[in-house]
Point group: C2
Chain length 217, copies 2
């Protein structure tokens, strides 16, 4: 019996990953750095985005895609008030953005006029982790009041991200938050991830996050 | 042409609702009051449950089903340390509990020895809203640091609940939280819902919540 050649099929992307890859190519072709911002509801994603815009809008052209489960424009209005192009995706109750939704959002923006695209995902510490959007970097915004045990309880969202912001450090004096315990949890899931404890409200320690982003712009 | 009789099929429950209804019958047969506690990660569900146990365990027999996406027993251990029967459901990354998971959890508890069953859902402000578990009451634990706009952004979870706890009022002095704006959002979604602003940490205003629960025990 002769040796047969077994055909090897390369890893086939699922539909979402396929579209995410296509989205990323569009971003690359337009020299746009894209970040996917994920977090629990109320951790301060929008505050982080607004302050990032204020810090960077003099040096680069920024656009925002806002993901919301409900058809309210609370966050989009805040971005729009800063004269930044923004498009909102209403997921219609869905718990995450997916690559096709982002593609639809991209169609509403002039991509030739952007250097940085910030995608604000739906507030959810579970489902968004499973859906690539085409971003260059994924960022999680955690926050002090959520507690130091979140990496242990919601591990998937912390894996595979490139930056972790820990917001609301101005509240540290009023809460029991064990920073070592939090960081140990992160270290196991995502060793060496860029880590930025800061306050979007007071601006304390916001600089290192901005500098990290500038490195890629 | 004679008048035909058109057969009318009653509303058919989906599989989850069917099992939820069966679960509820088991609870009723055992005279157990069951509450489904839903919230965003870090709002204080477990703290609320622990304090409720401390306040009520002298007057009734309490059991807990803990829902977690990850196989860690952080919350279950805290409950177990109070000598309360607890069973944990690891959803394996799933973003909510469903009625079948709860049925499996029920099998691990001695239901003939319970008056109150507290089910702690997975921390998520979106997906759990769509899955009845068989509970008598659904309760959402919101919290001050999450912000006053959550009812507008995550409306579904606030609809159809019987009680709304607003936790961490001890942090009100340090945060911008417009109570009127929050309550107006709730009023539209769920007029007249029982509302309990309180602090699980300090115990401030915890009494009205306990009294509400006692009414049904």
């Amino acid at each position: 019996m002769g040796t047969k050649t077994i055909p090897i099929v390369k890893k086939i992307l699922n539909a979402n990953d396929q579209i995410a890859q296509e989205n990323n190519k569009v971003f690359k072709d337009n020299n746009i750095l894209t970040i996917n911002v994920m977090a629990s509801p109320g951790s301060g994603k929008t505050s982080m985005i607004l302050r990032t815009i204020k810090e960077l809008s003099s040096m680069c052209r920024i656009g925002v895609i806002e993901g919301d489960t409900a058809p309210v424009t609370i966050d989009s209005d805040k971005v729009s008030n800063l004269d930044i192009p923004v498009t909102q995706i209403n997921t219609g109750g869905e718990c995450h953005l997916d690559a096709m939704m982002v593609r639809k959002g991209m169609e509403q923006l002039d991509l030739t006029n952007l250097d940085l695209l910030i995608i604000e995902n739906v507030g959810n510490l579970i489902c968004p982790a499973a859906f690539k959007l085409g971003e260059d970097f994924s960022v999680v915004v955690a926050s002090i009041p959520e507690g130091d045990d979140k990496p242990y309880k919601y591990p998937n969202i912390y894996r595979g991200i490139q930056a972790l912001i820990l917001n609301k450090i101005d509240l540290l004096p009023y809460l029991d938050f064990d920073m070592d315990y939090f960081q140990k949890g992160i270290e196991v899931l995502n060793p060496g991830v860029s880590f930025f404890p800061l306050s979007c409200k007071t601006g304390e320690k916001f600089g290192p996050w901005i500098n990290w982003l500038k490195n890629y712009l």
